[in-house]
């Protein structure tokens, strides 16, 4: 490449062109959506923004702690110094409790990882959808349906654990896959938007579980309320820390979650199927041009996403819960959306985000005990994280992160 021809300004990366010369601003697979879900971006939006979003959410959480105690607020008028000291102490107690509750003891770590298990699996479910350009809001319903099938396999069959547990998990995956696959099929064949259908499928699943828990096949004998039979011991995920303390709930489900994260990573980035998923997600027209079957991809992605959601429900049923009660998915399927966003739709990011959310859940109780700050603060912090992830420009403005060049859209369409 001679100097004369190889002009770096014009031939290398040319942000000027991105911003002005081509109508790239409104091109396919682009725009805020892709940036929020992490389907594109440089390291700043991939790593820095999530980290800063969590940090900012915690700072605002601290302000909320400071202003949410009436007595403390009135103290400011009388003795500002003392009020300041007490406010700091209150924030310290709350976040200190949150941290020790999550990581400060074997029990804390065990709880954190126990909560992280279904969160990671459900987060993967949402994340793989994002990667393929689909918004799976149905993790909650998929957890319920997968969990129910795992439950049935878990109490109905009587096998050795080496067969029974894998079968129960497989049942959970299949249950979820069907529940995710139907919206995928509807999207592919009829164009019905998966956001609408998965929300509706959540409701169907919730009511179905209510109904199923009253049927003699599933309802526990001798009980008038909605509770299922117990999963047999041979289908339970083994506890890992029983040798330290039988109370510790950490179980082999965490391995299922980590294995699933690795499998999703492999599928997305090492296989032809993932190549298709990502192409379909980033540019359906380009995928079609390249000979990919876009409708088949939609169905497959939603089925796999549903399967992962089903696994999330199954690990709950087959470990900490042991039986099903109404709404046993505990809104984890909705937390999963926030978590996938925070993890930038990358399997490993989802694992980290899952552990963080698990820690918030686990530490929340300790926080409440240590400082009388309500556990609802956890929800506020999670919500704030989502807001900041969804508004990356806000975070970049607060912390003066250099603007990502490709996002300049002021001249979209006004091109040479």
């Amino acid at each position: 490449m001679s100097d004369e021809n190889g002009v770096p300004e014009t031939d290398g990366p040319a942000p000027e062109e991105r911003a002005t010369a081509e109508p790239a601003g409104n091109g396919p697979g682009r725009g805020p959506w892709a940036r929020i879900t992490g389907a594109e971006g440089d390291w700043r939006s991939l790593v820095l923004v999530p980290v800063l979003a969590v940090f900012t959410a915690l700072v605002i959480g601290a302000i909320i702690i400071a202003v949410s105690d009436i007595e403390l607020l009135s103290l400011w008028g009388e003795d500002a110094g003392e009020a300041f000291r007490q406010t700091l102490a209150r924030i310290g107690d709350a976040y200190g409790g949150l941290f020790t509750g999550a990581f400060g003891s074997v029990r804390g770590i065990s709880e954190t990882l126990t909560w992280a298990t279904p969160l990671i699996l459900a987060g993967l479910s949402v994340a793989i959808g994002f990667r393929a350009g689909l918004f799976n809001i149905g993790a909650e319903g998929q957890m319920l349906m997968g969990g129910m099938l795992a439950l049935v396999v878990g109490f109905q069959l009587n096998l050795t654990i080496w067969l029974h547990l894998p079968l129960a998990l497989l049942g959970g995956f299949i249950g979820g896959a069907i529940w995710g696959g139907i919206p995928g099929w509807l999207r592919a064949r009829t164009g019905a938007h998966e956001v609408i259908t998965t929300i509706m499928f959540n409701w169907i699943a919730i009511r179905f579980v209510d109904y199923a828990l009253k049927t003699p096949f599933i309802q526990r004998e001798g009980r008038p309320d909605r509770i299922s039979k117990d999963v047999l011991e041979s289908a339970r995920l083994p506890k890992l820390l029983e040798w330290i303390d039988p109370q510790l709930r950490l179980n082999a489900g965490i391995f299922v979650a980590l294995l699933a994260a690795w499998a999703v990573y492999w599928l997305l980035f090492r296989s032809t199927i993932g190549f298709e998923f990502r192409a379909v997600g980033a540019n359906p027209d380009g995928a079609k041009y390249a000979g990919m079957n876009v409708t088949r991809s939609y169905i497959m992605v939603m089925a796999i996403a549903g399967g992962l959601g089903g696994l999330a429900g199954s690990t709950q049923i087959l470990s900490v819960l042991g039986n099903a009660t109404p709404g046993f998915s505990a809104n984890l399927g909705f937390d999963a959306i926030a978590l996938a966003l925070l993890g930038r739709s990358h399997p490993f990011g989802v694992v980290l985000a899952g552990i963080l959310f698990g820690a918030l859940r686990a530490g929340g109780q300790q926080m409440q005990v240590a400082s009388d700050v309500g556990i609802d603060l956890i929800l506020v912090i999670q919500a704030l994280i989502v807001v900041f992830i969804a508004a990356p420009e806000l975070i970049k403005a607060i912390f003066r992160v250099k603007a990502v060049k490709g996002t300049e859209q002021i001249t979209r369409g006004w091109a040479t």
């Binding site: 490449m1 040319a14 000027e16 911003a19 296989s271 190549f275 027209d285 041009y289 060049k405 040479t416």
Partner: protein, 502 residues
């Protein structure tokens, strides 16, 4: 009025888009601004129009420094801009579009459409811009839509009018009419900036030419004294071959046979309406036509992206009418799509990923469902070298490459395969002279190796330069067939406009 840009510098992170540019625009003259894509023309004009703020430098009007922060400031200062992609509301009338944003109102803020129509007629008459104020935009041909854009600018009392690549969407006849309008605007004392990369046009219409290269003004020329070759050299920075060098074709057996093909467009109109033609091995057939006359649907039908309503497409004798894109791909067909960003590339994917975008599914790039990334990367490095794709690395997202290099990625991917038939739509749209030269060479090379090639282009220059046979498409039909040596631009332009042979 005299507009002066003084020492305008615009720095984007890592890139110097404009470097101390000095430019003067006077009333009653046409300034031609010539430059390759990415040379900084658009950035410069966006600064002038208040869309960007210059890192350094001043904009002066009649010697007074202006602070143009928004397009509103620029309009108030008497600067107007006609963008290449029109900013019109398709379902509104001409008059409604013209007054949009500055609507005349009666008392109590009621829209005064009478006034609007009167204004439009007045401007039409004054500058010879014939247009019906009550016509709905979407019913008008592109050339007339452009007039509406010009009227919009005049309605806002612009004294300096910037035209950004105004001829790209016009037929040769429309270009002539457009030049007539530009001349009458000049007579009326307006200052005109004409941005283009077309050498013949800039010489025809400009009073003065400034050439921009790498963000810098590299030369000012008198259009009467400079040749196209000299201009091209100034623009690119090295001597350029303007004519495609090729031997006479040696057509062999028919490779592509199309019979009575009818294809519906998205609105279920037969936009390809009974088309029949043949492309032989070792020849380049060019399809000329104004955008939207069925070329897009034809190519989509040939490549399996759009179903044919009726008719037959044969490839090397085999019926492929109902094949999927994948099946057609497997039958050694290469497709350079019309819109590289919409369908030819996945912009978020790396160069390496894009180079296997349509062949990832098979040996050697994958076994079963396992991608062989090492081999794929090696393949990418080889192609980047061979096709001279200027990229810092094969791991860079294609989004970050310039348009010319994005196109080279597609050409490398499609031409590096062992193909029998190549269909290329707008293979050089929006590219600079250097890249066009390169891509044309590759196409001719492909032909000389015995490939059958179908070129679809709205650029008559390109059709004339490359084709061994030219077909003209108008309203879904092939209305003429000519060899390039038995026709000329004027005649083709007439065919493109629907004038039938006598």
């Amino acid at each position: 009025m005299e507009l002066e840009l003084k020492g305008i510098t615009k720095r984007f992170p890592g890139v110097l888009a404009n470097d101390r540019v000095n430019l003067t625009i006077r009333s009653g003259e046409v300034l031609g601004l010539l430059g390759e894509n990415g040379a900084g023309k658009t950035t410069l004009m966006n600064i002038l129009y208040g869309l960007y703020t210059a890192t350094d430098g001043d904009i002066l009007i009649d010697g007074e420094v202006q602070d143009l922060k928004t397009p509103g400031d620029a309009i108030a200062a008497g600067i107007g801009m006609v963008h290449q992609h029109f900013m019109l509301v398709p379902v509104f009338t001409v008059a409604e579009n013209v007054v949009l944003g500055v609507e005349p109102t009666k008392a109590a803020g009621i829209l005064d459409m009478q006034e609007a129509r009167r204004d439009v007629r007045e401007i039409s008459a004054k500058y010879g811009l014939e247009v019906d104020p009550d016509a709905v935009i979407e019913d008008l041909p592109v050339g007339i839509q452009q007039r509406v854009e010009i009227i919009k600018v005049l309605f806002r009392e612009a004294e300096i009018i910037v035209f950004d690549e105004p001829t790209a969407v016009l037929t040769p006849q429309e270009v002539e009419e457009f030049f007539g309008i530009v001349r009458s605007l000049r007579e009326a004392g307006k200052g005109i900036v004409f941005i283009t990369h077309k050498l013949d046009e800039i010489r025809e219409i400009s009073d003065r030419i400034n050439v921009l290269r790498r963000g810098r003004i590299v030369g000012e020329a008198d259009p009467k004294e400079i040749s196209e070759e000299q201009l091209a050299e100034l623009m690119v920075g090295r001597p350029v071959e303007l004519v495609v060098a090729k031997e006479a074709s040696k057509p062999g057996d028919p490779m592509l046979e199309v019979e009575d093909l009818i294809v519906l467009d998205d609105r279920n109109h037969p936009n390809v309406d009974g088309v029949s033609f043949i492309v032989r091995a070792g020849e380049i057939v060019g399809i000329a036509g104004v955008q939207g006359n069925g070329q897009t649907e034809l190519v989509e039908a040939l490549t399996g992206l759009r179903p044919a309503l009726s008719g037959i497409v044969r490839l090397a004798g085999e019926d492929v009418t109902d094949d999927t894109p994948r099946e057609i791909h497997r039958k050694s067909v290469a497709h350079v799509p019309e819109d590289r960003q919409r369908s030819g590339l996945v912009l978020n994917f790396t160069v390496a990923e894009n180079l296997v975008l349509d062949s990832y599914y098979d040996q050697p790039f994958s076994k079963g469902i396992v991608m062989d990334w090492d081999l794929t990367r090696g393949h990418a490095r080889k192609l980047v070298e061979e096709y001279d794709v200027r990229t810092p690395s094969i791991e860079v997202e294609v989004r970050n490459l310039s348009g010319g290099n994005q196109q080279k990625v597609i050409v490398a991917r499609e031409f590096s395969r062992d193909v029998k038939f190549t269909v290329a739509s707008q293979p050089t749209r929006g590219l600079d002279v250097g890249s066009i030269e390169y891509i044309h060479e590759q196409i001719v090379k492909e032909r000389d190796a015995g490939g059958a090639i179908l070129i679809v282009s709205t650029e008559l220059d390109e059709i004339m330069a490359l084709s061994d046979r030219i077909l003209v498409m108008f309203r879904g039909k092939i209305v003429a067939e000519r060899r390039p040596d038995e026709t000329n631009m004027t005649q083709l332009g007439l065919f493109m406009a629907g004038v039938t042979e006598t």
